[in-house]
Amino acid sequence: MREKVKPEEKAEANEIAQACSTCFEVPIGPIHPALKEGIRFTFWIEGERIRKVDIRPGFMHRGIEFMGTKRNLIQVLYLAERICGICSISHPLAIVQAVEQAAGIEVPPRAQYIRVIIGELERIHSHLLWAGVAAHELGFDTLLHYVWKVREPVLDILEDLTGNRINYAIPIYGGVRRDVPPEKYPVLKDALRYYRSLVDDFVNFFLRDPSIEARTRGVGVLTPAEADSLCAVGPTARASGLRKDVRQDWPYFAYPDLEVKAITPEDMGLEVRGDVYDRIVVRLLEVVQSIEIIERCLEEMPDGEITAFPKVAALLAHLKKAEGEGIGRHEAPRGEVIHYIRLQAGEEAPVVWKVKAPTYSNLMPWYPMFRDQEIADIPIVAASIDPCICCMERVQIVRDGRAETMWREELLRLSWDKTRRIVGGLGASHVAREGI
């Protein structure tokens, strides 16, 4: 073991106590109402104001990169899809680029357009999901239920195109696994028209509502200089006025044809303030932008092949011979995803695989956002970067006065015990019928 944590934590606590004799230390998390995922915030609070914060992730790290180096590349692709539970397409879209670069695979144009369509549909559903969560964090649950209701059609479309509401398994090295056939265009266009018709409602409910404005204007401010030096990404960076968007800066797939421009609040005629309100503005504008991108894709998408390797066995053989390294970047709904991969000839598994999710880059910008904010604003400031913790981390810990690692055997045993307790209450005939 390297550095012990405790002496440093103590030194830090002393430093705060000296600086602020009236500060109280308030731990929030790892399980807390601000976020459905495990992360621990420790706030030093003076009255109602936050004077300092410490953030400790690491409660859902699954060691996915390590697992990836023990599996063949096709298995790694499916593993990558399971890094994030919300924007499940983001990591596959990044890893296919990295592997295609490393193995020198040419992708048919139609496949690149289909990747864009699925990626943008994902952005619409993810931004709507976030808008609902943000409304909930503000205590506006009516709006949460409304937004999540109107989010359903995009999930239905994704299910229609891919066979699943989440984890679509569409990209593969060299192309995509399923086409978007012309007979699906009308349904897709209908859904896009439906979302266009809702834009005015969204603007009224989110941007013209006095209670939302009162809770988000001037709250959780990230200045452009802080966003730049702390390397913020995605809507968090753009809401602070940085025109930073991988689709524009370092284009990929069919994005160069679609002329994507990074969106900031200035595009709605607003002055950039870098607060939570601005983050709502940027995400709403991006929903409109995604609708436009998909419409253009449907018009311009060329016919042709959808994959360079119709047979998976040929693809695996090609990948086994490949040697080289590559990087793949994708602008996920939350910001930049980057995958670095190194392949060695004769090896089925990647020798090195590094994954970076957007929340990883947006962790440092949280510190200035929380500074001098009120306790009541903790949930919305935390949610404003649209954090995805399981995505950022990739061991299960029980805190019972001390940190303890729980292994899968123990978790499964606990699950069996529970099943036995339930079955015990149901009687022997049920056990025989259910085959438990």
């Binding site: 073991m1 390297r2 550095e3 944590v5 440093e8 934590e9 992730p57 690491g58 790290h61 060691g63 990169e65 390590f66 670069q101 730049d228 030096s229 702390l230 390397c231 913020a232 990404v233 940085l242 025109r243 930073k244 524009q248 800066d249 370092w250 284009p251 990929y252 797939f253 069919a254 994005y255 160069p256 044809d257 002329e259 421009k261 311009e300 060329p302 990087i327 970047r329 930049e336 980057i338 670095y340 190194r342 020798v351 090195v352 590094k354 970076k356 990883y360 880059s361 962790l363 440092m364 910008p365 061991v395 810990i397 940190a403 690692t405 899968r408 055997e409 499964l412 045993r413 069996w416």
Partner: protein, 184 residues
């Protein structure tokens, strides 16, 4: 920003110490084809701060990630920078590779130049056992405080124990799941 400009600036400052520089260009897009570029190069750890200062003077600088690997008796780190965000196709991916011996895995920290580099540097401390000189916070970030191994190091005897336990559970060994099935 073009990769040629970045390369000229880095060579101007580091000269021969920028080893094996290679510009890789790719054409992307079909109706409006665009060229996007990557620069790969190797540097010594003594030159890292100078190189990053040079990049920072050139254009807006973003550090995407530091990737790392155990390559025998050395640890390899690749710094992936995105130089020049904000304009269409204006970004160059600059990938600077450096290696450090395992018995002296010390690298200067970038936190003074790019405070946002702290997360990725803290991750490399826990996963690879690299030391960063000048980093303001060295606590664990993703791994449990009591985990004594560096999971990406291939020479960690304790790590092999963790892996054996997991693999046995996945029925690649005889213990673990067989026993579990009997119980189930």
């Amino acid at each position: 920003m073009r990769a040629g400009e970045v390369l000229a600036a880095l060579q101007g400052r580091l000269g021969e110490r920028l080893r094996n520089p290679e510009v890789k260009a790719e054409t992307v897009g079909y109706r409006r084809p665009r060229e996007r570029e990557c620069l790969w190069a190797e540097i010594a750890r003594e030159d890292l701060l100078e190189a990053v200062r040079t990049l920072k003077e050139l254009a807006p600088l973003h550090i995407s990630i530091i990737s790392g690997a155990d390559v025998g008796d050395r640890i390899e780190l690749i710094y992936h920078f995105a130089v020049g965000y904000g304009t269409e196709t204006g970004e160059v991916m600059v990938n600077l590779r450096l290696t450090v011996p395992k018995d002296d895995p010390v690298v200067p920290s970038l936190c003074d130049l790019i405070p946002g580099a702290q997360t990725t540097e803290r991750e490399k401390i826990e996963f690879l056992g690299v030391e960063f000189q000048g980093i303001p916070d060295t606590r664990k970030l993703f791994l449990p405080d009591d985990l004594a191994v560096h999971p990406w190091r291939k020479d960690e005897p304790e790590l092999a124990g963790y892996v054996r336990r997991t693999v046995a559970w996945e029925e690649k060994g005889d213990e673990g799941k067989g026993e579990a099935r009997r119980e189930g």
